[in-house]
Assembly symmetry: C2
């Protein structure tokens, strides 16, 4: 068993991956850097330390608990699930990560990854050596600030679903949150696919899979959404947002 994170690299697949200066338009970093007026030479510096990873297929791991921490990664395509297995063998889903979002941030404090990351479908990643990006950040105030904000945002997000909310509130918040995050990256906000099984959703929301089924069914009966297998369409978005409001808006 490999003890190294990000084991599967296949550069050949990425031959068509944009030009040198406008790489990864969906990337969490280029977006931030460009908007903060990073100049071309800085962008090139950043580009130099990016390593393209993938494609990883459903079930393949990006990293596992205990792998030595060396890099964070931005999801470029697909969905990554992070999770841990506790001492009783129970799985706990920590989060789902969509294109433009960054994984591995919780590993910075420590020299190994504290959780597992697995591809739920076909996943492409941009890998950033953390020691290298730290050095660069000291030279580029915009990049340093961006890293601070990324980390800070993750704290806030983690606290969201930690609160004491009903099954309906959490499910609505999950759907609205997913919609917003996908929309921010240019995907359709009201019509998308659930890339994860019900069991993972349930686990993430601290619900039983059966409860997820029942809540989705009731939402459909109440005209809040249309769901068929993993295809989803939000119809009564306003009422869903009202349900989710206590969770999303503190």
């Amino acid at each position: 068993m490999s003890n190294t994170a990000f084991p599967r690299v296949d550069r050949s697949v990425l031959a068509d991956d944009g030009d040198e200066l406008n790489f990864c338009s969906t990337c969490a970093f280029s977006q931030a850097c460009l908007s903060q007026g990073m100049d071309k030479s800085s962008l090139q510096d950043l580009h130099m330390l990016v390593e393209h990873i993938g494609p990883l297929h459903a079930g393949e791991h990006v990293f596992r608990v205990g792998d030595p921490f060396e890099a964070i990664a931005a999801v470029r395509a697909g969905t990554v699930k992070t999770y841990v297995i506790d001492r009783d063998g129970r799985e706990h889903v920590l989060g789902f990560h969509f294109p433009g979002e960054v994984i591995g941030l919780d590993a910075i404090d420590g020299d190994t990854y504290p959780c597992n990351a697995v591809a739920l479908d076909t996943v492409m990643l941009c890998r950033f050596s953390f020691p290298k990006i730290s050095v660069l950040a000291a030279r580029l105030p915009g990049l340093q600030q961006h890293l601070f904000r990324l980390l800070s945002r993750s704290i806030g997000r983690a606290a969201l679903l930690a609160g004491d909310f009903s099954a309906d509130e959490r499910m609505a918040a999950f759907l609205i949150g997913m919609s917003d995050r996908l929309a921010a990256r240019g995907f359709s906000p009201n019509r998308f696919a659930l890339t994860m099984p019900r069991t993972d959703i349930a686990n993430y929301l601290r619900l039983a899979p059966e409860t997820v089924s029942r809540v989705l069914k009731r939402f459909q009966e109440d005209g809040l959404l249309q769901v068929e297998r993993r295809e989803l369409e939000l119809v009564g978005r306003e009422r869903l947002e009202a349900l989710a409001a206590p969770v999303l808006r503190h």
Copy 2:
């Protein structure tokens, strides 16, 4: 109503606060910086931008939702509670912060604080202007790394109690976690005071206050601890740790 965070400053109280080079031995920053071989001039630079705040008394706020974000702060004495009020008027306790711990990290992403911070007892703080400490961090790699780690650790901690655990597991994890954090700062690990009311503990653990009472009572009957009002002594620490293990150790 003041719109500025950290409104109450009383420097006179702090006249006896150590000398220039060995300031705040309990401070979250000096500890890290010293251990990472920061030289005297760097420490002085850091010292220059520290602002001592306090004492704040129970019920006084450090900052409130919507206050403009300008600084993070290390708790030097006392306990700070962070919380939000949701749209339905329900309070959600996000965390308790003991000496040596840092508050305000979740505000970095945004220009206002996303939560309230209130003193539960008499609180002393070290305030760090975030723009200033960012600039300094670019010059001091150890400080930048320390900030990254602080932020990363908060992500991990936030994910802990978010999982799906029983009332017993969460309460045990809360007690063991509190004990460990106090012990790390030199306080007694097995005998300490709960500085917050039951309602806040309950809220933080997503339990009813009545459940907190009942679990504590049962823990006492089972010989796990002695509790009288807010005075607490952990007796059966190993069994408590066993209960808390699924929560604390992923």
